[in-house]
Symmetry: C2
Subunit: 196 residues, 2 copies
């Protein structure tokens, strides 16, 4: 073999450029040449690592998913041993929400991809899987009856808060306040029912 090149590294480099473009100018601005320019490489190279644009998109999306997962597990790890389910859940959600500069960029990309996936059934399947996973995780943290409904609600709330945050409709404080209020309800009500 000639020249050793970390293929995956190159691909992520390009994917990063793609995400910067998508975050700044929207998905519609994502093109081979734009991404190449943003990455500081030739258009030919982009083509070399991704045979098609859709392949590039799919990869970039996988990167985003992976990164948010890392953010979540990191945040949870920082909690120390045996945190309360409620704190755990809150930390998880806060890690996903576009609150920091970095996660905000990811959020923009995710939103762009959401629209992109809306008309690409095969791409949407991946997201469905993700939410299913999250749903299980959340359901496991919620006490008692109505797990499924509550879990679905919490997940939807998270998604919605993310959207409103990205749109600048809510401030970080408002979003977190709404989240906490909701968690109060979910955990408080079960406590009340169990305590009675």
């Amino acid at each position: 073999m000639p020249k050793k090149v970390d293929r995956h590294e190159r691909r992520t480099l390009i994917a990063d450029a793609l995400m910067r473009v998508a975050a700044r100018q929207g998905v519609e601005a994502v093109s081979l040449r734009h991404v190449a320019a943003e990455a500081g490489v030739s258009a030919g190279m982009v083509q070399h690592y991704f045979r098609t644009k859709d392949e590039m998109m799919a990869f970039a999306m996988a990167v985003v998913r992976e990164r948010t997962q890392v953010r979540v597990t990191d945040a949870i790890a920082r909690l120390g041993d045996d945190p309360s389910p409620r704190l755990l859940l809150r930390t998880m959600i806060a890690a996903v929400l576009p609150l920091t500069e970095e996660s905000c960029a990811d959020g923009r990309v995710a939103l762009a991809f959401l629209a992109y996936a809306a008309v690409r059934p095969e791409v949407a399947a991946g997201m469905r899987e993700d939410t299913g996973q999250m749903l299980d995780a959340v359901a496991g943290l919620i006490p008692a009856h109505g797990r499924e409904e509550y879990a679905a609600g919490v997940l939807a709330l998270m998604e919605g808060l993310g959207i409103h945050l990205l749109g600048g409709h809510y401030t970080a404080e408002q979003a977190l306040a709404a989240l906490d209020a909701h968690l109060d309800l979910v955990f408080g009500s079960a406590e009340g029912a169990a305590g009675r």
Copy 2:
């Protein structure tokens, strides 16, 4: 003046075509010629009624906003006199959610525009306004303390449910169950606090 033509009607006709295209193939597929073909008119005519593509987009978005508003007020009107705040709120939200064929198409368009607006500050302003309005309306229906947080949460929940519905992550039943569960919490908790 020659030929009387209902300008607004023509524009909505074109906007409708635009929305069909956006719903079917995504925003990126929205182009002058595609829209013209979908509307069954010449590309020149589209250009005649919208000097620029962005103008066309903005108009289409306004149509969507307007239509969902109509759906909401209609649904509320069907409720009869003096419905409970909770029922009113539920009806409002159910009217917005992409549950029917029709509102689902609108939802796809709205999602596409959400991404579109994410990088167009002047477009995003309109949406911000809308959410602000909705927030006030919702807050007015929610009892007692923590209005703002709860209202923000309810709105976010709605948005999130919409997203998950569009993505096919939730079924209509699941979404409604989650909504009802949430409303149980919001209205039930206040009642519990007041009753104590």
